[in-house]
Structures are given as C-alpha cells and as structure tokens.
Symmetry: C2
Subunit: 419 residues, 2 copies
C-alpha cells in the first residue's frame, strides 16, 4: 500500500496524462462492474470483519448501512453500469467564437483532475464515487470511514482489477489506508494535488472540511427545509405536500423541518395538519409527528412549545417546527435568515406570491406547490448524484457528472500576436 | 462608518431582498458613472492625500498606479457605462424539463449574493469591481489596500450617492474602513455572510486567502506561462510569437516566462530567438531579454546558466528561462508539473502534435500557434474581467459577469408529492 503522500503524487501524475476517450471510459466501467460481481465472496468476507468490529460500537441504523450481501453488491454493479450509459460530460464545446484577427476561441468541458471524497460508513459510496469520477475523466482518491475500511478496500481492489483488465491504470482509483483524522487533514491541505474535495456525510465532517480545507471544496448536505403555506394556499394540497415532505423519509436532507403558516388561514389549516400528522398516524399505528409550535400556533392546536433553537435544527426525525407569520414578507425574511438554502417551498394559488417567493428565496431548489423531497440528481435529470451542494460556487443543488467537470479554453491561431 | 461586522450584516440583509430588474441595475450604473464625474474634485483631493502619504514608501510604479487625474476618472466612469451596456447575466434559463408527473424543473442563473473583493492600491479596481457586482445583481464589499483608502472612500461615496439618486440602497456597495490585516481575515472567515471572495493582487495576498479563507474563494492571477516550440514549428512564427508574449508587456500574468524547445530544431531556432530578444533590442535601445538557459541551450547560445528555480518563477520582467526537450512528451510533462495552469502554448504545424498538446495540457487557456497574451476577458468575448482564475472550480481563466453568478432550480408543481 502507498501512504497518503505517495497516493497524492500518483494520482496527480495519472491525471496529468492525456484524457481517455468515451469508449475507453465506458469499457472500463463495464469491467469494473464485472470485477465487482466476480469478487462478491471476497467483498462479503471483508464486510463481515467490518460488521464484527463495529457491533456494539455503532447504532443499528449505521450497522445496516455498513452491511453488504450479494444483492447489494449486484445493485452496486448495476449502478456502475448505469453510469456507463450516461452521456460523457467532457469534450462538449460550451462556446466558440472567432476574433477579427482569425483566432478561434473554444470553451470546452474537461475533467476536473483529481477528485477526493471523504465519506463515512456506506460501502456503496466507494463504487458510486469511483464510477462517477471515472466517467467524468478524473482520478479519484477515496477516504472511507474506518468502520467500512475493509469493505472499501476489497471493493477498490476489485474495481482496480477491472481497470487493469482493460488496460487502464489502476492509479485512477485510490483508497487512503490511514483512517485517522490525519489523512482527512492531509487531503484538505493537498494544494496542487487535489482539484476538488467533496465531503459526504454528517454535519461534523462537512464543517471540518469547510473550516480546514485549503483546496477547493464543496459544502454539501445539511437541509433545514421550509414550507410556507400562504393565505391563498389550497389547504388540502398543503396538507398532502407537508405530510409527504415531513414523513415519507424524515432522515434525509430534503425532508421538511419547518412549516410557516400565514395568520389568515392558520385557524383553518393547523387543525387539518394536526389531524393528518398526528391523529391519523396514531390511528394507523405509525409514529406521530411531534409538533413544536410558536406561541400563536400553540393557541390554536396542541403540541410542544417551540424554542428558538427548534427553528434552526435539522431534526431528521418525526418532528416539525411550526410558526405563524403575518405576511409573505415575514415568511421570506424568516427563510432567508434560517434556511440552509437547500430546498424551500411555497404553497399558494396566487401567482404574484409564487413569483415573489421563487425570485427572492436564495436556495438551491425553490418549490411552488410541490414537496421538497424532489431535490435529487435523478429527479432533476442529471442521471446520477455525487451529493447536494448547499453553497453557491461551481455547483448548487444536486451534483451530477457535469458538476464534476471544469472547462478550459483552447485557442487556435496561425501566428497571431497581441498589438 | 460601520465596522466590519456591521457591514457584513447589512450586506447580507441587502442581498436577501428581491432582485432588481435589468433596467433598474442599468439606471443605477449610469447614475454611478455620473456621480463619479460630479465628484471629480473631491476624489482628486483625497487621492492627493494618498499620494502624499505614500511617497518614499512605495515604488514609482506603485505610485503611478495609485495616481488619479480627471482623465483617469473619466475612464473609470466610461468603464461603468460600458458595464451598463453588457447583457444581464442573471435570469437566463440554463435548462428546463418537465417530469412525467408534471413538475417543471427550471435551472436559472441568479446573483451570487455578497461578493467581497480584497485588492491593493489601484483606485480604479474600486469602481470596476463595484460596477460588475451591481450588474451581476450582487452586493459588494470592497477591501482596498491602505495606500489607496482615501481615494477608494471618496469613490465609494460618489458611487453610493449615484445609487441613492435613483432609489437604490447604498448598502449594495460597502468599503471596509479597517485597513489592518484583521479586516481581510474577518472577510475570509465570514461564512454565512460572504458568498464569494476574490483576491486581486500579488502572490502574497492570493496565498493568504487560499490558506485562510473558509468562505468560498477563487484563486487568481499567478502566471508561469510556457511556449513550446515543436520540431514541426514554423520558426519565424515562433520567434514573433515569443517576442510578443515575452516583451510586449512583461509585467502581466499572461506574459511568457518559460520557453521549451524541441532538440531537433534547437540549433536552428535558438540563435534566431536570441537575435530578436537580445541583439535587435539592444540595437533599438530597448531593454534586452536576459536568457536563462539549461545546459543544452547554453551549448548553443550565450546567456546565463539557469537554476532549477528559474523554471518555477514568475519573473514579470525581461527574463526568459529556456530549456531544450527531447520530445513533445517531455514538454507536456514539464508544463504539467511546472505551469501555474494559466496560459500555455504550442508552436507547431503538425496537427497531431497540436491536438496532443491541447487535449493534455491542463491549463485555463491552451494556445496553438498564438501568443499567450490573449488571455483576457475582453478578448475572450466576456465583455469585461474581474480577474483570471487559475483554479478549476466554478470559473477558469478570465472571469466575466456570468462567472460572478450562480444558479438555482425553480420547480413548479400543482400538488406533486414523492412516491
């Protein structure tokens, strides 16, 4: 195995080579998928070691994320094949023009170079991230959480074998051996070697990257998503959308955490909402949603009295903070200040209100009369997803293959000089 | 005046408001240009203070950059008017598609939010940066070098008066009062307030931003630009292009610093190059170029023997490092390793060599048979330039108005929920 510094040097050297063609990359992806299936037994035996080591140390949910079986490996291989079928994001002419002096200036999409990904204990991220990076023409450096390291190592060995089987260098996919904090730190400071660093995981990991990275990185993930129910909302629609956004899968970043309700319809709306989120769910033996209410909402329906903190918390659970607002302006102001700018929605039949909201709210995805749960690379037509950016530089919202690329200018002349 | 923290709060609050229309922004720019002219006397008297304070402390070149007169202020005003005539970079529909369930997903270019610019002693950067930011729909925070602060303050006051004359908030343009390092540091760490930080200045400033910023930033500037003269080069073209790239304006980032010459033509080419860069310039009473030669070039022509460092130095002067290479592969490898990835060129009549070079070299601008001096926002058709990015995230090469914007998704439905 190579140490982190050696990996950085090898990765940069590899990315400095001439780019592979679309067909070469797709052939490699197919070979990676095949090698993954071929090595199922080995991967499962290494995964067993990770599971044994992790038992009693991590939660049941985390253990399930770590667990692999033959069917999950098949899914991972299918994921790689799916990526092989996506269009090549590189080599597109983004713009072209010819100057008066005859110079032709072409702006062309090209690979990013070296992409490092720091993630936690999901072994499937290993194959997903590697496949997307290969398709985007880049070299990837993977830094897996230590709980999943044996699984990740077995997966990477299989993927590298797949690359070599079709004559591509195995140096296009690297796994960092050191699973201490030091190796994450080394990647964050690897200026000149890492062109893009993407953290995939919880808030702690993401904040550590934002605070420490000197290489270009993308902030992903945290979603405090709002739904504002306007005075001109269709209340039935609003209830159904909020039920979906809050309860369909509360643990994900595009789930709703805060509901703002216009005062004119609060008296009507809040009991309807409580009926669906609390009473009906109880009757159906489902987990009821805990409502955390501001003082005005609390006068209308029963629930916990909310603290200020509840309006700045990503619950990722069956909890919803509710606040009554005097106007759409107050709703917008609240969202601009408290949102993580991931996904926010307005429910209103009033076109003026819709436009005011969608043009002013500064979030990656702004919804009109729909659930926030749709923020996803697949849904948005990107074909795949490397994460969801909540920053504004380079990529915003779901990151697909195009967002893993950069561009360069190629200028062709016949002796032109600048006067 | 407000302190830095107050400015950050005001700027974010301003950027959270509904965006201005194209016409409102253009009206504001025209008013800014007029106010600048109207306040010529005040700006010149404040500039005189800066000049007096700086005398004997900074070089003649720097003093000239700091110096303003009525004609330079007119140029600044004209620059603002030029920006008012450029197309609005926001509000463009970048992609649109309708899902099977009827959801319409639009990707739209929108303002970045708050853009902070840290720069040095050129007062014209103050009006340039403010104009571009206003046109891009963002709020700007300017942090001028202390030598130019009185000039910058007078300029900003005029620009703010222009904004207020047409009913736009003066909070769209801020100048930081504190000119100690602390205020730069405050901007670099202003997560949640600054959406994009751009350093404009020397290597020290840029490196300080890269090392310390936790807000998204763009690395600009440094150019160690290479020209490779291939064995199939037209040697007369090559001499003319290198003469232009090296001597037309050696102090700028797109000037050539290193020349690589294929061994097969070195014997022919190097004496021709020396004739033009050294002998002819001496005869014309121009500063001759100092040639720093690797051992093989040194056997062919006279000059200084180069050190390793000479091949990693941005001279910004009449100095050229020259190395003889065995092959195009060696040239590419050298450039990949030593370039700052700003602008690099190949001189060759061989199409295969041109393609190999342009597809492999990982630089913002790759030239075929033309001078590197063309890397410029105006030349590339961007209409203007906020700096030249040498990183790969978000913007690469010259940054125009589009590169100062981000995008968001606006998703319109009629009650869609996720299954």
């Amino acid at each position: 195995m190579m140490n982190t510094q050696e990996i950085l040097i090898q990765a940069k050297r590899e990315s400095n080579k001439a780019p592979y063609s679309t067909e070469e990359k797709n052939t490699a992806l197919r070979a990676m998928a095949k090698a993954l299936i071929d090595h199922t037994d080995d991967i499962l035996s290494k995964n067993k070691i990770d599971i044994e080591n992790a038992k009693n140390k991590i939660s049941e949910v985390m253990l399930d994320r770590l667990y692999l079986d033959a069917s999950r490996i098949k899914d991972m291989a299918k994921g790689i094949l799916d990526v092989s079928k996506l269009p090549d994001p590189t080599g597109r002419i983004l713009s072209t023009h010819t100057l008066e002096n005859g110079l032709i200036v072409n702006k062309i999409s090209v690979p990013m170079g070296v992409i490092a990904i720091i993630y936690e204990s999901r072994p499937n991220v290993t194959s997903d991230a590697a496949a997307l990076t290969i398709k985007a023409g880049s070299v990837c450096i993977l830094r897996s959480g230590k709980e999943a390291w044996n699984s990740a190592n077995a997966i990477v060995k299989a993927l590298q074998e797949g690359l070599e089987n079709v004559g591509m260098s195995k140096n296009r996919i690297h796994l960092i051996e050191d699973t201490t904090r030091q190796s994450s730190y080394d990647l964050m400071k690897a200026n000149g070697y890492v062109d893009l660093l993407i953290p995939r995981g919880g808030k702690g990991l993401i904040q550590s990257v934002i605070q420490n990275a000197t290489v270009p990185c993308i902030e992903t993930g945290t979603g405090i998503c709002h739904i504002y129910v306007d005075k001109d909302a269709n209340l039935d629609k609003a209830v159904k959308i909020i039920e979906n956004a809050k309860t369909q899968r509360p643990s994900v970043c595009n789930a709703e955490e805060v509901c703002l309700v216009h005062k004119d319809i609060a008296q009507d709306f809040l009991p309807k909402l409580k009926e669906v989120l609390v009473e009906q769910r109880k009757a159906q033996d489902k987990i009821p949603v805990e409502l955390r209410l501001d003082p005005i909402a609390h006068q209308i329906i029963d629930g916990t009295l909310a603290t200020d903190e509840d309006f700045d918390t990503e619950f990722l659970d069956y909890i919803l903070a509710i606040k009554v607002v005097d106007s759409i302006e107050e709703a917008i102001e609240h969202i601009q200040e408290h949102s993580t700018h991931h996904s926010d929605a307005i429910i209103s039949e009033n076109e003026q209100a819709q436009t005011k909201f969608s043009s002013t709210i500064d979030s990656a995805a702004v919804y009109i009369n729909a659930s926030t749960r749709f923020t996803d690379g697949g849904v948005f037509g990107l074909g795949c997803e490397m994460g969801i950016s909540t920053q504004k530089l380079h990529a915003r919202g779901p990151m697909g293959l195009e967002e893993l690329c950069t561009y360069k200018y190629i200028i062709k002349g016949n002796g032109q000089i600048r006067e």
